[in-house]
């Protein structure tokens, strides 16, 4: 879809923004360019819509060298979102969104109708179309920026740190909206950020750049966390990449046991017989009631007579990741995570050590897969599995 072939950008003062970059971005996915400041990620992005012209090499879009296309024409076919939205303050929100359709020569009525549709798509009320950008909050402006980029329904969207100028709460909200939008629209998106968390949350593929404009690694988020190509990438991905990796393990893969899970009707002797320090007490529909500390159980009677400690968060085997399971374990008074199904019924429990087994299993599966790939030869195309050279 978008292909960089030996692309470099050098400036007359001798700095190299991008150095011999070769990269192929798949259609219909989100590729995140990430790296420290001065690593050439924004320059790389801006070379796709000719806002920056490369010094050497070619950038092609759907097999066509973009230098063959007049810059304004090329840009009208590529959505562009920038950090502070860059809205036109003298135009209403609706007219901002209608910018590209109007440039393409649509009549005003059709362009406005399209703009109204997009306003709704990005989750803003219809009345907001008549306002001016300086009457909007930062988050709202950014939504309008996204709507403007989608004006003529371009197949490709370039986003240059679109969410970094808003506060963390609004950012999380915008990221969630963005993921929802992408599920609906299936655009080919190139997204620049300096925030590795954002990259991992949003990217289907991540290209990590190092200072001097060199590509350090190009991989899926899972593989980036599991197998950083070198010390730079490992350092950039962060100290807690082990925990982050759990985000990519489905909770359903977590091994659970139900030894310490007992109904409230069970006699206290059964709890002692389980040889666990804690038991999880459940009702007759297997819904969790709370934790009972075994040494503090009454001498006789059932578990219904025991005093229970509150449950703490549970995790859903259907919707959550192993990271949520770990969180559940850490916040539980018993240090055991409680896994529930869609009805909220307890399936089983696991401690942090048992949870970590999931990544060990994932590693083993991956090593096996890699050996298969290597056995099949090294002809695999750039882009998917192989890491780029640093």
């Amino acid at each position: 879809m978008i292909r960089f072939h030996a692309v470099s950008k050098n400036y007359p003062n001798g700095t190299t923004a991008v150095d011999e970059l070769s990269l192929e971005l798949a259609e219909g996915g989100i590729t995140v360019l990430v790296g420290p400041s001065g690593c050439g990620k924004t320059t790389t992005l801006r070379m796709i819509n000719r806002m920056v012209e490369p010094t050497a090499g070619t950038v092609s879009l759907r097999g066509r060298d973009i230098r063959e296309i007049r810059a304004p024409e090329l840009r009208r076919g590529i959505g562009y979102v920038i950090q502070h939205a860059g809205l036109f303050p003298h135009r209403t929100v609706l007219d901002n969104i209608a910018t590209v359709p109007l440039l393409l020569g649509w009549n005003r009525k059709k362009a406005r109708a399209r703009a109204a549709q997009l306003l709704e798509l990005v989750g803003l009320p219809h009345e907001m179309g008549r306002r001016y950008p300086n009457q909007l909050s930062g988050g709202q402006q950014q939504r309008v920026g996204v709507a403007r980029a989608l004006g003529a329904d371009p197949p490709v969207l370039l986003m240059d740190e679109p969410f970094s100028a808003v506060d963390p709460i609004v950012r999380t909200e915008l990221q969630a909206e963005f993921v929802r939008l992408q599920k609906e629209l299936h655009k080919t998106i190139v997204f620049v950020t300096h925030d590795i968390d954002e990259a991992i949350r949003l990217g289907d593929h991540i290209a990590v750049f190092r200072t001097g404009g060199r590509l350090a690694q190009f991989d899926t988020p899972e593989r980036l966390l599991a197998h950083p190509a070198d010390a730079f990438v490992a350092g950039f991905v962060g100290q807690d990449r082990g925990i982050r990796r759990l985000s990519f393990v489905k909770a359903a893969e977590v091994p659970l046991r139900d030894g310490p899970v007992l109904p409230a009707t069970a006699p206290v002797e059964r709890a002692r017989a389980a040889r666990e320090p804690w038991v999880l007490v459940i009702d007759d529909e297997r819904r969790p009631l709370g934790w009972a500390a075994v040494p503090e159980l009454p001498q006789s009677g059932t578990l219904a007579d025991a005093s229970l400690l509150p449950l703490g968060p549970t995790f859903s085997l259907v919707a959550d990741s192993a990271r949520a399971a770990l969180d559940s374990a850490l916040l539980s008074p018993s240090r055991l995570a409680v896994g529930v199904d869609t009805d909220g019924a307890v399936v089983g429990v696991a401690d942090a050590y048992e949870l970590s087994a999931t990544t060990v299993a994932a590693d083993a599966a991956e090593t096996e897969a890699n050996e298969d790939v290597e056995a099949a030869g090294d002809r695999a195309g750039a882009g998917s599995a192989g890491g780029g050279e640093g």
Binding site: R76, G86, H90, R91, Q135, A149
Partner: protein
Amino acid sequence: MNELLNQLRLVGDWLASSQQWHGDGGIPQRLLEHLTYSGLSLLFAALIGLASGLLVGHTGRGAFAVAGVATLARAIPTFGLVVLVVTLAGLSTTPVLVALVALAVPPILLNTFEGVRGVDPATRDAARGVGMTEWQVLVRVEVPMALPLILLGLRIAAIQVVATATVAAYPGLGGLGRFIVDGLSRNDYELVIGGSTLVVVLALLVQIGFTALRRAIVSPGLRVAAFTS
């Protein structure tokens, strides 16, 4: 106080007397002359000032020259320039117009340039990024955003020109300055004050006109103060 009231009455009498409103050398004729000189010089000055201000502001090239030319032009005394050009070119409309244009260009040029240059680089970047040609960036984004400053420059220029066009009377070319020049030479203070009043009223009308124009053509998005929604 009495003196002031007395003078006001004099002006009132002068303005009210019907002979001032008819025939050769009457107020309508002088006013028309005045407006012609002012309008023509403002038109030329706007052409020069807007064109070069937009060009330099958009490209960013020649900013140093703009500052230099503007400062130099402002340092030249208008009256001196009229005398100089009359001496060189002879008695005609041209020297007066040249002097008035020279007076009007700097505020227009400087404000236009500042207005365009002051457009947020992110907005300009976005304009190019969504696929506007350089011309479209200028006409659809930079000019509308610079409009408050462009109008300010034109207004300053217009008021200065209207006030200064009185010098046209010195080389004998009429205009409202005629009343003042004649009044001074005849020691007819009624005439001097009457003429001056007309010039002041005209300048005020220009001011009101520009305020109305600003209301009409500057986007509300540039006027409203930011408020949270």
